[in-house]
């Protein structure tokens, strides 16, 4: 029997009972959705978390020696370090920022924020764009994210408390709030006044056209390796994401395992009951000349079909969630990656192979003569 015939029989077996079909495919969908949604949530969170870095326009980040990222890190470099970096071959500009993670009191709520002090006169360091107001901050003015402003009913001209001081909202950004925190911008000079120091945390470098950022990084590191650590924007963002991944790895593994086990249980049970339910019919097929491998193929095709449908539905649902969830919960983003889809596809394949083992064993033991015994 050709594959099309076996697949057709598998499909008819699967689709004949709507209840069984819905339970089987629905169970698989839920299991895979569990795996995929968590992955998409963490990826989305990671992407949001590095939004400031990726949208900064900087080609290179210069930090204190040993510091590779921003989240849960404290970096301090001197004006001299910034100056040295700015004079490295291929550097077009070096913009200093001061950064700390701290609370911003907005409309009675405390929002955990990356507080970034930037110099409005410098090309880099501030928000890439504002959706309202200005980036040209004056004394005691701040830019907060639109999600925070909306959630607290704030608008341009309203006041927020940053590091114990009152600031007036002069600009609003978008896409700078994630499930963990938000990014708030003030002037570097205001920040330094509050901290009582002229040190900065990072320098954001722009590379001249025609220069390779990796080569510039190597040059800076060679000249000033004892004091600073320079990383390209991609490396700096990767290090930042890695922190999130390291923090959530166990949760991901547990959820993946849970999804895998649920998917396996649902698929195996659906297949097993389906084969049990059709035991007589498979016996008849054997009696009229079907070979064991053909019956195995029907069972495997049934598993592949329900898992493919389940995986397709799960991907579709996560994609749909990715579109709709931010409308309801603005600081949540679901990002579906090709890697995650492949991973879930492989998990589905693994589930199918394991789940088909017991029914295949049942098939092999079927007595073809039972067709005559009724």
């Amino acid at each position: 029997m050709r594959a099309e015939g076996l697949f057709y029989l598998a499909w008819r077996n699967l689709a004949q009972s709507r209840t069984q079909f819905s339970l089987g495919v629905g169970g698989v969908t839920l299991a895979l959705l569990l795996m995929l949604a968590l992955d998409a949530l963490l990826t989305g969170t990671g992407e949001n978390l590095v939004a400031y870095i990726t949208q900064s326009g900087a080609d290179i980040f210069v930090a204190q020696e040993g510091v590779k990222n921003m989240h849960m890190a404290a970096s301090a470099i001197t004006r001299r370090d910034v100056s040295l970096a700015s004079h490295a071959a291929g550097v077009a500009s070096a913009s200093p920022i001061l950064y700390i993670a701290g609370p911003v009191k907005a409309g009675g709520a405390e929002v955990l924020s990356y507080i970034v002090g930037f110099d409005p006169a410098e090309p880099l360091g501030g928000p890439s764009e504002v959706v309202a107001g200005t980036t040209a901050l004056r004394e005691d003015e701040a830019i907060i994210d639109g999600v925070v402003a909306r959630s607290q009913g704030l608008n341009l001209g309203d006041e927020v408390e940053i590091l114990g001081e009152t600031f007036t909202i002069a600009g609003l950004t978008e896409g700078q709030t994630n499930i963990i925190n938000s990014v708030t911008f003030i002037r570097l000079r205001d920040f330094q006044k509050l901290s009582g120091s002229d040190a900065v945390s990072y320098a954001l470098l722009k590379v001249k056209p025609g220069y390779d950022p990796d080569a510039v990084v190597a040059a800076i590191t060679t000249r000033n390796a004892d004091d600073v650590n320079a990383l390209t924007r991609a490396d700096f963002a990767r290090e930042e994401r890695q922190i999130i991944q390291d923090m959530s790895l166990e949760v991901i593994n547990i959820m993946n395992l849970a999804g895998l086990l649920i998917g396996l249980a649902v698929t195996a049970l659906t297949l097993y009951t389906s084969v049990l339910h059709r035991r007589q019919e498979y016996g008849v097929l054997k009696a009229i000349g079907a070979k064991n491998w053909q019956l195995y193929t029907v069972v495997i095709a049934q598993a592949v079909l329900s898992l493919s449908l389940g995986a397709g539905l799960a991907v579709g649902l996560v994609w749909l969630l990715g579109l709709t969830l931010p409308l309801v919960i603005p600081n949540v983003a679901l990002v579906l990656t090709g890697q995650a889809v492949i991973r879930v596809g492989l998990a589905a394949l693994l589930i199918g192979v394991i789940a088909a083992l017991a029914p295949a064993w049942q098939m092999a033991r079927l007595d073809p003569a039972q067709g005559f015994r009724g």
Binding site: G5, R12, G374
Partner: protein, 277 residues
Amino acid sequence: MEPILVVENVTRRFGNGATEVVAVKDISFTVAPGEIALIMGPSGSGKTTLLSMVGGLLKPSAGRIQIGPDEISAMDERRLPEVRLRRVGFIFQDFNLLSALSCLDNTAIVAQLAGRSRQQAQQQARPLLEQLGLGHRLNFPPEKLSGGEKQRVAIARALVNQPDIILADEPTANLDSQHGHETMRRLRRIAKEENRSVIIVSHDQRIKDIADRVLWLEDGQFKDVVEMAIDPVCGMAVDREHTPARTEYDGRLFYFCALGCRDEFLAAPEQFWTRQS
């Protein structure tokens, strides 16, 4: 004529030692192409075991079974599905159609198992179903068919690979008398027109008249083989012992299915009988 089926000294035992049961004991018979053999006997007499062995579903403990040139009793288990697929057509008591497939696909699946594409198999199955009066039911699922219609689908399925032998297990058991009779007439026509051998296992006394030969199985052995005679008027097979009418003509004994046939024969015997020189 060379027999299409040879069953020689076949025995089948189940269990061993104190629990051993001999279901079929040293049975021998042959079936010619186009012949209809009816195997009757009480429950537990070994009919189904015998049928299963003839169909290559069960191996005999001893003896030889040959279908055409193939000695299936000596075949490896892995080769038997091919024999069942191409040499034998099965008609089961409960029809045993696949509930998920339509009439057409239920018939076509046997051709698909033999390597045809779905389309080719359907092309092969469609005329068979149409001949059996199911042209308007091709896409119906089995649950929407009457018992007689299901049996016709089962017959079409048994025929689709043009087997040498058709094995029918209680083919009339789930049918009313009218449909049962129709089914048997169809099987007879298939046997005679297409020269296929039909072996029927049944309790139904009413179908004795379509068989060429009735074999009585009891305690795993044939007790008394009843030769059937053919009514020269209507062509029906008649049990010689229980015929309602018989007459002697031209030195030969003729058997009839009814008094009407005998009277018709006696009115103009030369129309029905030509002396063999």
